[in-house]
């Protein structure tokens, strides 16, 4: 599913999208794009207002941290991973595969 153009998301930034009624976030980490469900594993609140620092996103609600590539939980109060999606970049288009 094509969600955005490469130029839409500058390095170090992220943007929320709704794909198939599913909330997702696509972020740009130094030119590499990652996509994950816009839902913290702690209380299922949206992550898109959080802070992105390298590959680590910090949830704006309670401070949980996740690796945007693997989804792994890195800091309390999160103990479970977030859902991540495969991303493909073709020409200047970003494609996200949502099962």
């Amino acid at each position: 599913m094509q969600v955005a153009r490469v130029t839409d998301i500058p390095a170090g930034q992220m943007r929320p999208f709704t794909v198939d009624e599913e909330p997702i976030v696509v972020c740009n980490v130094d030119g590499a794009f990652y996509a994950f469900q816009d839902m913290c594993s702690h209380q299922e609140l949206p992550l898109d207002g959080g802070e992105l620092c390298g590959k680590v996103i910090t949830c704006p609600w309670h401070g949980a941290k996740f690796d945007v590539e693997t989804g792994a939980a890195l800091a309390m109060p999160a103990v479970a991973p977030i859902v991540t999606y495969p991303v493909k970049v073709e020409a200047d288009q970003i494609f996200v595969e949502i099962p």
Binding site: T18, E21, E22, P23, E44, L45
Partner: protein, 417 residues
Amino acid sequence: MTTIADISKDNVSKTAQTVGDPAWLKANRDAAWERYSATPYPTRKEELWKYTDLSRINWGKYAVGTTENVVLSTLEKDAAARGAIFCTLADALKKHPELVQKYLGRNTDTVNGKYAFENLAFTDRGFFCFVPKGVKITTPLHVETQSTQDGATLFPRTIVVLEEGAEATVFDQFTSPNAKDGVIGYTNARVELYVGQSARLHYLQMQNWHNGMLHLLEQHAELERDAYLSATTISLGGHISKSTIAAILKAPGAVSYLFGLGYGNDKQQFDHHTMQTHLAPNTTSDLLYKMAMNDRARSTYTGIITMTPDAQKADAYQSNKNLLLSKTARANTVPQLEILANDVRCTHGASVGTVEDEQLYYLESRGLSREVARDMIVHGFFEDLIGKLPEETLKNAVRKAVNDKLGTTIELEDIAL
């Protein structure tokens, strides 16, 4: 084509015309429309919407102005002769406008906010059941509200009124006979039950919609002195199904039973919220909700017992039991108590468990396949609840609907205990 996304005041007028509104109802609709327009959709930040997120729903998928069947059974002649009424809402508005006016929207209590205003503004079908003082209807009344069209939108309203000493059993069913795979729809229903002094009402609400339905329902029951209500909610269909069920015990001696049953598979989401509100002394309420979830299905149960300071010597019980049938099935349960009177008895319980391996081994050792064994256990899990229904026909209707949903080869005779 107008959809929920671009619905306007014109649609209020059109609905009023189709239904054949008396002036008072049109005025009610207009008022509801104003509130609907002014009210934002609830968000997950609100306690009751924490587990059901409709913020990403594309309302443009649902076309307004759907006409589909509402099928009613026949009222006993004797009861009709004594003044009982059982007909579609549109018919009732034509024949008994004053009586309907007395009850339709009499209670405006809602926890569903915008959705409740939406229903009132666009109520387009439903039925009216009125049982006068002392009249007892023995045969269950059956209403089948159907939806099979793709993109259909339904705003049903059920009104059941039992006057003093009246008795009735009402089976209110939402169903999609022979719906094609992949169809979607949206239902936003409102149910109002008025149980008069010493009246007895058995009300069974079953939705076995197709799995593309987004189903919202808000049910409100008021019980007068010594009234008896048994209200059962069966949730089987839809991809999201959220029901709010309230019983308000307004006068001493009122007794309310709330029962709920849900079976989910695939990615279905069920959300049941119940309220047992004791406003008077010596009132009794009991509740049992049983949910079995398979595949990636999720059940949420939240329920609250409220004992106001006037509810001395009241007695309340609340129990939610969940059976998880797959690794990815989920259950949330939040049974709550708010007790402001001290001389009461109040107990609640909740549990989440799984099918015990021993149970499966036992049934397999009796020659059943694992799937059938599991389905038998699901039937067994529900059976005590089904057993509380008043009529054999109703019990069998529920058993059959559950069995159809399970899709097994089990014969109905094998599960009726």
